[in-house]
Amino acid sequence: MISCRDFITELGSLLDDDVASEIREQLEAHLAHCSTCQVLYDSTRKTLRIVTESGSFEYPEPISEPLVSKVMDRIRSWEPDDPVRK
């Protein structure tokens, strides 16, 4: 029988659906009788769902014109002989 600590160690792999079937069975057996780990698993899974589906970190609109200009100015002033280039 695995402990809560073992369950937490494997939680990441379980969330990624990347566990061998025998380990999954053990984790599921643990979940069946441990309400703390049930809540932990459920809320972490929901956290991931919210993070991936919230559209977070999307820049709301195209990047600003001054920023485009800054990029292009740096590109125009870059010399191909710059030591960075091999």
Binding site: R5, I8, L11, G12, S13, L15, D16, D18, A20, T36, V39, L40, D42, S43, T44, K46, T47, L48, R49, I50, V51, T52, E53, S54, G55, S56, F57, E58, Y59, E61, P62, I63, L67, V68, K70, V71, M72, R74, I75, R76, W78, D82, V84, R85, K86
Partner: protein
């Protein structure tokens, strides 16, 4: 037993002496190749010249490259052998073990950490390895001879790992770390991709940016502006999550596009242009955050993370807030995470890199990366309890 017969006889006295002097014995992997003693002789000579003899890198640096690359390959044979060798050289077993697990926690100098990051990137991501990686070693004050030796050591380790796996040689010493679930000779390791993910992209042939890229490659610099406009948002998003502030993300965005422009001649359409560009952006962002102290510190990692606030959540937490509120809430809470956990989580859960890709990008072992991602997810979960638990849902 291995796959081919192991023969004790046939090594020249000179090579036998070289192996015994350095390993304390003639390792089984050489006995297993005695159908071609001439090739064994050639390998021992290479080992002696590249690894055993004094070179531009120290012997311990070279041994650590061998350990870290073997670990990246899930090879347990050579670490078992070379951890013994390192003990002869005065390196404590605990330190060698830590290099195998995650060299960032092995108490190495910043330069040695950079060296092993470099080795892992070369070993794991050969195809997307660029002169930026070489530059990162130069910045850590490695000279070109040392860089050459580092590259050769990665190559030597790949050769040795491949020989051992192909011959099924069992360890000379009991390995202290057997890479989990795979044992010594994994039949196939499905999560270890033989082909870079970029190649697996079915739609590369339809990359809508190829025409503009070709124009820029032919000297039409101004056409690059269209790529900046088109992909600026995407690049900004990757950078914001990594560097953690809008102002720095804008600076890093300029650096990333400049680098992409400088290296555009190397872009061969093996991946989508946008994929290639985002990889450059991620590396640019990482270069910035790596210099921060918090980023590679391991003090918290050694302590076990105990989740708190175990309260049941509502069934559909997404319904508690508007889409816009959710977006802001996630951004705010992700940004509060310590850098190293935030970046690991961003790469896996927002950029959707595979575990192996994310580990290689960050120069971490796969278990090291997994641990950081999990810690990041659990910390984020904890900060979200207040918004989504049955008691707190809907309050922001």
């Amino acid at each position: 037993m291995g796959f081919l017969a192991e023969v004790d006889e046939g090594l020249s006295a000179e090579n036998l002496a070289t192996l015994k002097r350095n390993f304390g014995l003639a390792p089984r992997v050489y006995h297993a190749q005695m159908l071609r003693p001439d090739l064994v002789e050639a390998q021992v000579e290479l080992l002696e010249k590249l690894l055993f003899n004094k070179g531009a890198l120290s012997r311990v640096q070279k041994e650590f490259i061998l350990l870290t690359v073997s670990a990246a390959n899930d090879n347990s044979y050579f670490p078992a052998l070379h951890c013994q060798t390192l003990q002869f050289l005065g390196v404590k077993a605990e330190q060698s073990q830590q290099v195998l697990i995650d060299h960032h926690g092995a108490n190495l100098s910043d330069a040695d950490v950079a060296l092993l990051d470099f080795a892992r990137r070369l070993a794991a991501k050969g195809r997307s390895f660029t002169d930026l990686d070489v530059e990162s070693l130069r910045r850590s004050n490695f000279n070109d001879e040392q860089i050459l030796e580092a590259v050769l050591m990665v190559g030597l380790t790949q050769l040795l790992n491949c020989i051992q796996m192909g011959l099924g040689t069992e360890p000379d010493f009991k390995p202290r770390i057997v890479f989990p679930l795979k044992e010594l000779n994994p039949p196939v390791a499905p999560e270890r991709q033989m082909i870079e993910p970029e190649l697996a992209d079915d739609f590369v042939a339809d990359d809508p940016d190829l025409e503009i890229v070709a124009r820029v490659q032919n000297g039409e610099t101004e056409a690059f502006e269209e790529l900046v406009r088109k992909h600026g948002r995407r690049v900004y998003r990757s950078l914001l999550g990594i560097v953690g502030s809008a102002e720095e993300a804008e600076d890093a965005l300029q650096d990333a596009f400049l680098k992409a422009f400088q290296h555009l001649s190397r872009f061969e359409g093996r991946s989508r242009f946008s994929t290639w560009l985002v990889r450059i952006a991620i590396n640019t962002g990482l270069q910035r955050v790596r210099s921060r102290k918090e980023f590679d510190s391991l003090d918290e990692e050694n302590e076990e993370f105990r989740p708190r606030n175990i309260q049941a959540w509502t069934d559909t937490p997404e319904d508690c807030y508007s889409r816009e509120e959710l977006k802001r809430l996630v951004e705010r809470e992700v940004m509060k995470l310590p850098g190293k956990y935030r970046v690991a989580l961003m790469l896996r859960d927002l950029e959707e890199l595979s575990t192996e890709e994310a580990a290689a990008t960050l120069g971490l072992s796969v278990p090291g990366l997994k641990a950081r991602v999990l810690r990041g997810r659990l910390m984020l979960r904890e900060s979200m309890v207040q918004y989504f638990s049955k008691a707190g849902a809907g309050k922001s």
